[in-house]
Structures are given as structure tokens and as C-alpha cells.
Symmetry: D2
């Protein structure tokens, strides 16, 4: 029995870069959090401390800033692809690059150069590349969002569930349904209109949440993922993680009051957690695209 | 020399209550985080464990929910006043109540009962009361917000500052100015139109931030507070805490690039912190209103 | 009615400095988070943006690092006093300095230079100074800690409390009592043996928590503060904030089980919050020492 | 092209249970955070909202509490196995259970029933089961820890690395090396002496960190994983994620001072991130054990 090195990667996490672009006196900004992670021929550094294959994480950080200058920052997916290809193409020992991006939204206040952080959700992207010369399957782009918090104050039921000796939950035909959506969707290729695709996918998620009469959070999750795929042919798979942010109806009977779905206690922990995948039956296999 | 009990208070923190109101089939929701803190004749419980003056914090929590049913939840300041007066009026040992509220904003999606969390800032209120029979000065209301994150991508300078042997900062006549505003404002009375006042104060802060050409963050802070007071006669004092969320211009010269205020690194720690008060010269003295 | 500037201060928050000291081959480290806040003749910067009185917060940060080199970092209170006096003594416009410190504990692993973060609590200090030439009352030191999480699994009761129409809590003569202690204590002077004083105060808090049979958390809080003052004559006042980290006995009756104080649910929100002061009757008045 | 349901699971996250055991008058406590996640024949609930296969997450929570009473809580891995097997064995539609556990350490203060939270790290466990009747490969246990923060103040170098046009980092032969270890290790079977194994693996990680002269964080990571496997034959694979918590030597030259590895700035973001696997060459394949 021998002890050996298994899969590994290294990189720079959470490079916070803000790019200002001037269109005459009018400014635009894009605000990203970028992580770069590289893998390849890295046995020596682990086994002997020989760093000759290791491009420093400090260099990776510098590259993020330099590319922000050189290419600007447009859509995060595109910026991620530029970075990922660069590292694989330019470093012989690097065979694979993974770039993780978050984008924070800013709305305009008044005037040409003033902004206020907008929305509560964060746009995300995850890019994998084996290099710009790679053939089919060697690159993947997953877009998404997190912390999109939504609530339906009615139109949600939960009954007919399995029961055992530890079941005390009462069935209900009218409850509050609330969740903080984390959703990610995989593109078929690397040439989507990223900003338009993101806006449409986000809108599809919101609309499906609002218009689905829910018998369970699982049903709602599936409806949301399905809607995204129905509307966006450039996508082939959606993965979602949705905590059930329980809103418990408060028992006001001890105070001589009824509570006709009016007063809720918003609980923190524990919480239900529903996770699921919706995909097209022709989606190419790409499990590593999500990691 | 004797050891004695000094100022004290107790209560229930972070009661998360969501109130649904139905107007026909159309729902409205208000979502609060409420803390109640009581003080008065509480020597015995500290010195001997005699709880006869102690209304349980569990009861305070129940009261928040019961009042949400009985009175509804309209403006947070008004809900806080109802609660504060109740505890002082009904509990002989309680001479003072302090109610701290946060409100989370929800925007409509589509349909009559679907919502998405909106904005990044949280609305706040702090209410003090010695009871509904109290005379002048016995009640106070401070409204406010936190986490209103704003950025000017130009129109900000910083130079002409004091220097000593530890000064290395270069003066600049064009920098990014960004901050996460925590602001609170004191009302002259307890009868303001709370929602309208809040919306106007928030708008004044944003507009003053955007339209003030800044020579220092202190100057911007003062301009923001001043604008609120100029526009809102029901207010007499504004207190602000504004971290300088440094955006450092990245040095790209090692890569043969200039950086004409295009690429910034958004830093976390350390950060400048500017705190200040703006008030009218006829503001009644009420330091305890802020605690 | 005029609008005027009120109290204000500015500075650099969260300067994270680690100081290594070598005693032969054996290393010692101290790990601080330092905030410096200055006030004085700062009207001009607020009203007109004239920065001539403003020592940059960047310079304050530099000074923290330079002082760590020049004087070493011993006890945080002493380091805070050095910094506070420096700014007031050297800057004509600065009349008052406030230094806030946190210290993170490290324990040795094996060997002379390897450490593991120890304890869950953070040591704190708050230093105010009007300068080294100041007369009586012009300096103050408050030491303390936060996040000292403790639990008694029995020896705690709660009954005999006030009741009203919203009370549903059952009295108990055996409950779990748990809290995360934030405590701060004021020194009479500026010459305490800071490390010894801290260790003894922390031990007194823990011992009083463990050995007090509790009829209420208020009683426990008072006993803890009293014990600190009884044992440490260099201290004159203790302020504590102690959340009641509720551990609710789970109702297992629906499953045919009793629960003889064996299985608890550790709840997050809402929580009781007890805040109180214990002081000696000869403590000099110094409310601003705590701010 | 059709849209179909892919992999999914659901459960209750973050059930906070504290179990008190009395040995005469002496109490012992174990404090867990438990998450249960189930998967199996769950198509109907997603596609039509038919809940007949869905054991409510509320029931899962109840089961955690009831099992804490019935079986006590000893080692977290054992408690997780009991829970996982129960759900698969008793629910026809559930074919697989995953239980995630965190344990918080408590040290004794004085007396038989008083405790203080100890350590900064959290012990973790991840259990998968296809049921107690399952044959080989149907169960897996991964133990671990997170937030074990360690620092070497010397004995770390970094030089000889790859360079490109974006490299500005200076090589060093003496730096501070600090990280917050997240490590997980897979057991060969389900019958380890869990507490003893955990204590030994944690000690091995600490000792290897302290005694490895480091040429790179990758080398240190590999040495730590290797040491665990060398010492613990019941384990076959270790996965680690170690952020490089950069401590930058402060440039004090502008103030006329040298800095002979004495004063460091502890930075937050960005940070290096090293992730790697060490395993025995006879480790059975079980990628799903880690998910």
C-alpha cells in the first residue's frame, strides 16, 4: 500500500475588481469577485516543494487586473473565458483552468457617475477551460444567481405526505412559501448572449415561482427549472438549491385571537432544503462543469 | 466601598414577524425584526433572583405577535410606539421601554401575492417611551437605515491634508468614493408621517451623495445630513456612520499599462470610518434617544 | 433655525497587525485588530472640505505598524495608550483619541514557532486619551472580552415572574442556562498589570457563572460582575451584555417518550438579552470611557 | 428534445440538538448540528406535487430529537449512521440517506455541570447509507474538521516559481505561513473508534503542519494528509482545502525602519487557495462519499 497524491488545484480566490468605463462624461461600472483555480502537472510541488510549475497566485491576481484594463469587463462569463484560456494557453504545466465569478449589481442614482447597490441577489458564473485550442467538451460555462429571496403569501399547500411514528406536522392547504434561490444553469456552448440570457433566465425563475400554485417546494423547484429550459434553448441543464424558509403561523388562541393567515414567525433554523436538477434529455454529459 | 447595581435593561431581541394583509385578493406584507427592552424597578431580580417584577421575555415576544394581529403592522415607528407604551402602561415595575425595529423591503413580482426582497438597505427605527401618559420629552423616535451602499466613480478629491513622519499617502484630485451609509434621524415629535418621511430622507441622502463634489468624505457626510434637515422640518438631528470603502487604483505600470482611473481593487480592511452629527440649533436635548 | 455640525470623529478601523518577537529561536506572537478614531478641531473639513487639520486615516494605519516595530506589542491596553497619546500630542488639531483593540489568542502547537488559534473568546480594550500631558480624568482604559460562550446544564431556575394576558411561559426549577458573554471592565487608572488583570477577570467571570445557582440570568449577570470587582481592586465598573441562548426542552411525548432534561433544541432567534452594570460606589464618573 | 428531472434530494438542515447525560451528579454534553437529506423515488412530487413518497422534513427533525433520547448521542459518526439507516430502512420510497453533522466542543469550567465552548475548530462528519441491509460499498463515513487556524512564524519559503509578464512577487526564504484548515478523511469501513480516530487525525494534522519545513503550501498540505494516512490505517483518503491567509511584511522603510520579519499585515482578500487529495493506492472508489 502506497500513499499517493490525488486530484488537486490551486489559485487565487476573491479578487475584487471594479472596472469603470467612460462614455463621454457618462460612467458605467462592473463590479466582480473573481477566483482563478489551476490544475495540471503539479506533482512536484506537492511531493518535493519544487515550485517550477507553479505560477504564483499573486500573478493570477495581477492578471485579473491587467485583463480588466486590456479587455475591459463586459459580461462575466466572457471575462472568465478570457482568463481561463490565458492560463492554460500560456503555462505549459497548467492543463485546466476554472474561473469563478460573482457580479454585484449597481443602479444609477442621479447624474452620470453615481450608483447605488441594487438587488439582493448576486449573479454568478463558473467557467472551465482546457485552453482555446481545445475541441468539443473542453470548455463549459455555467451561469447563475444566489440569494434571490422570494415569497408567496398564499397559493401554496402541503398535504398527503408520508407519515410515520415521528410525524406531528399538520397538513395545510394555505401556507406562506418562501425561499432564497440558488440556481445555476449550464450553456450548451460558449457563445451565448450572456447578459440577455441571464436576464431572461432570472425573469423565468421569478415568473414561474409567482405563477405556480404549489403543492410542495419540490414541485415549485421543478417548475422553475423547467421554465428556464423552455424559454432558453441555449441552456441544457439547471441545478437549484432552495431552502424552505419556514414562516410558521403563530398560535394566538391563548390570547383569544384567531390567526387567519395573518401573523407569521419567520424562523431561521432548522430549515427544509430542496435540491434538484432539471435538464434536457439531449444535454451532453458534463458533471465537472458544476464543480 | 460598596458594590452596587448600575443601569440595566432586559428584553427579547430579534422577534421576526411577517404580517400579511389582504385587500380583496391582493396581499400586502410587512416584514419586521423587533427587539423590546424594558427597564425600571429591577433591583430585586439582580440582587436576590426575585422575579416578581420581571415580565418574561417570552411574554414580550408573544405581545409582538398579538399586536401584529390586533393592530396590524403599518409603519414600523408606529408599531414600536404601540409596543413601548403598552409595556410601560401595563407593568408597574417597568418605567421605560425601548423598541428597536428593522424592516426588510419586498417588491412585487407578478400577480397579487408574490414578492421578491428588494433593495440592499434595511430600514431601522428606535423608539423610547416612558408611557402614554408621559409629558414632554418622555418619548422619542429615531428613524434610519443601514447598508445603503453607494459609489461615485468620479467627482471626489482628497488633498491638502496634514502630514507627519508616517504619511505616505499621495494626494489625489480624482478618486472613487464609496461607502455603506448607516444614518439615523431624530424626529421632533411622535406624529410624523413615517413612511413619507422615510422615503424623503432616503432620497435626500442619495441625492446629496450624488450631487456633492467631494473634497473629503467628511464633507460629503455633512452635506448629506444637512440636506435631510433642510428638506424635512419634522427632523432635528441626523447621525451618520460611513466607512470609506477604499477602491485603490491598481498599479499596472509593471505590465506596461497605464491606469487612467479604470481598474480598481475594492479593499475590505482596514477602512476609514467617518462618524458625525448634523443638527438644528433648536434641537431639544435627547442623548438617550439614540442609545 | 440654523443647521450645525455636532459631535464627530474619524479614523482607521480594523488594522490587522501581527507582531513576531524572537527570544533566541523561540517565537512569540501577538495578533491585534486596531481601530484609531480622532476628534478635535474638525469643523472646516466638514463645512468646506478643507483638509488641513485631517491626518489621513492611511497615516494612522502606518503609525500602528511603525509603533508595532518601534515599541513591540505587549499588552493591548498599553499599545493603545501609546497610540492614543501619540496622535493627541503630535497633531495640534486632534484633542482626543480613542483606540479600540481586539486580541486573538494563539496557543503553541509543538516546536518554537508554531501556533494554533485558541479559545473562542476575543479579548478587547478601549482606550481614550486627551494626551500624555492630560490631568486627572483625561484618560481611561476599559478592558473586556466578547464571545465567551458558557453553559450550565442544571442549577438554573426561572419562576415567580410577572404575568399578563400574553404570558404562556411555564415556570421551571431546572433548565439549561447558556449565554455568550460580552463583558467590559473599567480600570481606575492607566497603570494596571493588564495581562494579569485580564486573566483574573476572565477567571472570575467563569467561576461566578459556574458556581452561582441561578434564579434568573439577571442574578447571574450581577454575580459575575460583582465577583470581578471583589477580586480586582484596580477595577471600578463592569458592564455586561448577555444573550439568553435558549435551550428548549423538546416535547417527546408524541413519540411516547419522556424527556427528563436530556434533549434540548438550541434556538437562535429570538433570544432574551440581559444588559447591566455593576460598579463600586466610589467609581469616578466617566460615561464617555465606554463609547 | 424533452425536459426531465435529474438528481435530487431533500431534507432538514441544521437541526441543533444538545444532549445532556448524567453520570451521578456529573453531567456530560454533546452539541450537534445535524442535517438529513433523502433521495429515492421522488419523481411524482416534482412532476405533479404528489407528496405520498415525501416524509416531511419536520418529521426528520423530530427523528433527530427522538433518537437523541432513545440512543443518546455518543460519537457523531455513529449517530449519523443510526439516522441514515433508519430513514432508508423504514421509508419504501427512500433509497439513500445522507447525514451531515457538526460537533461543537465544550470544556469543563469548575463543578460538575458547567462548560465553556472550547477550540476554534468544528468537528464534522458526513454519512451516506443505502440502508442497514446494504452490501459492500453501500455505506460511507467521512470525518473531518473545519476552521482549524494555524500559523508558523518561520520555517516557510516560497521561491523558484514560474514567472510570466504579470509576475511581480518577490521570492522569499522566510515568511509567515498561516491557514484555516478544512480537512476531511474517509474511513475504510463503518466500525472505526470514531472519537479516538478523530483525536489522532487532528493531532497528526497539527504536528505535520508544525514540523514540516515548507517550500510551498502545497507541500505542507500533502505532508499533512500523508501523515494522517501513515498513522491511521482505518483511513484511506484525505481531502483538504487550505486558504493561504497571507501575512504581508509591512514596508517600514519610509519611516526609516527595517522590518526583520517582525511586523505583518494580516490580509483578508484575495487569498490563495490550495486544495488537494492524498490517498492510499488501495482506496476503494467512492466519489459520492464526499458530496
Amino acid at each position: 500500500m502506497a500513499i499517493v497524491l490525488g486530484p488537486n488545484r490551486y489559485g487565487k480566490a476573491e479578487v475584487r475588481v471594479v472596472r469603470v468605463t467612460r462614455d463621454g462624461g457618462t460612467h458605467r461600472i462592473r463590479d466582480l469577485n473573481v477566483g482563478v483555480f489551476l490544475s495540471g502537472d503539479m506533482d512536484d510541488v506537492h511531493l518535493t516543494g519544487d515550485n517550477s510549475a507553479v505560477l504564483p497566485t499573486d500573478t493570477q491576481k495581477n492578471t485579473v487586473f491587467a485583463f480588466a484594463k486590456k479587455y475591459g469587463i463586459g459580461e462575466p462569463e466572457e471575462f472568465g473565458l478570457l482568463l481561463a484560456r490565458h492560463f492554460v494557453d500560456s503555462q505549459p504545466a497548467v492543463h485546466h483552468a476554472r474561473v469563478r465569478l460573482e457580479e454585484y449589481a449597481w443602479d444609477r442614482i442621479t447624474g452620470p457617475h453615481s450608483f447605488v447597490r441594487g438587488g439582493t441577489e448576486v449573479r454568478t458564473a463558473l467557467v472551465h477551460s482546457d485552453g482555446s485550442g481545445g475541441s468539443g467538451g473542453s470548455e463549459s460555462v455555467v451561469s447563475g444567481l444566489r440569494d434571490l429571496t422570494v415569497l408567496n403569501s398564499t397559493g401554496s399547500e402541503f398535504h398527503g405526505f408520508a407519515q410515520d411514528g415521528f410525524t406531528t406536522l399538520e397538513p395545510t392547504d394555505d401556507r406562506v412559501l418562501a425561499t432564497a434561490v440558488t440556481a445555476r444553469w449550464r450553456h450548451r456552448g460558449t457563445g451565448s448572449d450572456w447578459d440577455a440570457s441571464y436576464a431572461a433566465a432570472r425573469a423565468a425563475l421569478l415568473d414561474a415561482f409567482a405563477t405556480t400554485h404549489s403543492l410542495s417546494l419540490q414541485q415549485t423547484l421543478y417548475a422553475m427549472g423547467r421554465r428556464v429550459l423552455e424559454e432558453r434553448p441555449e441552456l441544457c441543464e439547471v441545478r437549484m438549491s432552495m431552502p424552505n424558509k419556514h414562516h410558521f403561523l403563530v398560535d394566538l388562541a391563548p390570547f383569544g385571537m384567531d390567526n387567519d393567515n395573518e401573523v407569521y414567525f419567520a424562523a431561521d433554523r432548522p430549515y427544509g432544503l430542496i435540491e434538484g436538477t432539471v435538464l434536457t434529455d439531449d444535454a451532453p454529459d458534463a458533471p465537472s462543469a458544476w464543480q
